[in-house]
Amino acid sequence: MTRVPMEGKVLNENDRAAAELRAEFARHGVFAVNLISSPGSGKTALLERTLESYDAGRRVAVLTGDIQTDADAARLARYGFPVRQITTAGACHLDARMIRRALDGWELAQIDLLFIENVGNLVCPTSYDLGEACKIVLLSVTEGEEKPLKYPGIFFKSELMLLTKIDLLPYVPFNIDVAEANARTIHPEIQIARLSCTTKQGLDEWLRWIDARKGGQ
């Protein structure tokens, strides 16, 4: 029996495709954001409020991933910006090749800001780089404040945690300070914002965050 060292990342192929995307985004000045959360935490609602707030001249586009249906793309297309649905037919995450295919035919030079709504799942999307500039994790107040500890990977890899549906705080026993402390236990540098897409509380802060982050790249 002989043991030989084996080099490289297990997701080498995805990483390679993601690196190509990242280079392409850089070449065309596209700031790409990967939005990740459990199903129903409010990713599409956040994008609705975001697109609604942008003027028509804004060079923004959205790719939205789901296992089945193009319901989210239909919700998002109403705002007049380019939107495409990626249906994964069973896969619990988007990968870099799906993004590449979905971008086909889009003139990247015409896009400054690309939102990618990942498939609803707090685990699987963690491992797949999509060439994005940053990952953002959403945690709604109905999910429990211990989730950052139970699903540490995505909180570790996300630059920003958005605590969503804060309009529901009076109705659910969710300690928002504990949720934030838990996220910081996993990732001390994580940035945190609170938001409601129903009352729009915190929406301006989110819009400023994304512009500032994009400006700084």
């Binding site: 029996m1 043991r3 491992s127 797949y128």
Partner: protein
């Protein structure tokens, strides 16, 4: 359940690597997985077992070693020379 895809990726890599060491055959592959990698080791081990069964690579073991943070990397390959 992306662990099936990950297990598949490991098998592909083992095939490729073994090719370079002909006529040896692979008996065990070691990977390092960190706690932040978003991988459930048990679910990966299970997927791996199912995929290996009945394949050209059977019997092949998977050894999962603790990695640093979000590490998800190959560590080694054990080969048997006939």
């Amino acid at each position: 359940m992306h662990e099936v895809g990950i297990a598949n990726g490991i098998l592909e890599a083992v095939r490729k690597e073994t090719e370079a060491h002909k006529p040896a055959r692979a008996v065990k592959v070691g990977v390092r997985i960190g706690e932040m990698a978003g991988i459930d080791p048990q679910s990966l081990a299970f997927s791996f077992e199912v995929l290996v069964k009945g394949s050209d690579l059977e019997p092949l073991d998977l050894a999962i070693e603790p990695g640093v943070l979000d590490e998800l990397e190959f560590a080694y390959l054990e080969l048997e020379v006939p």
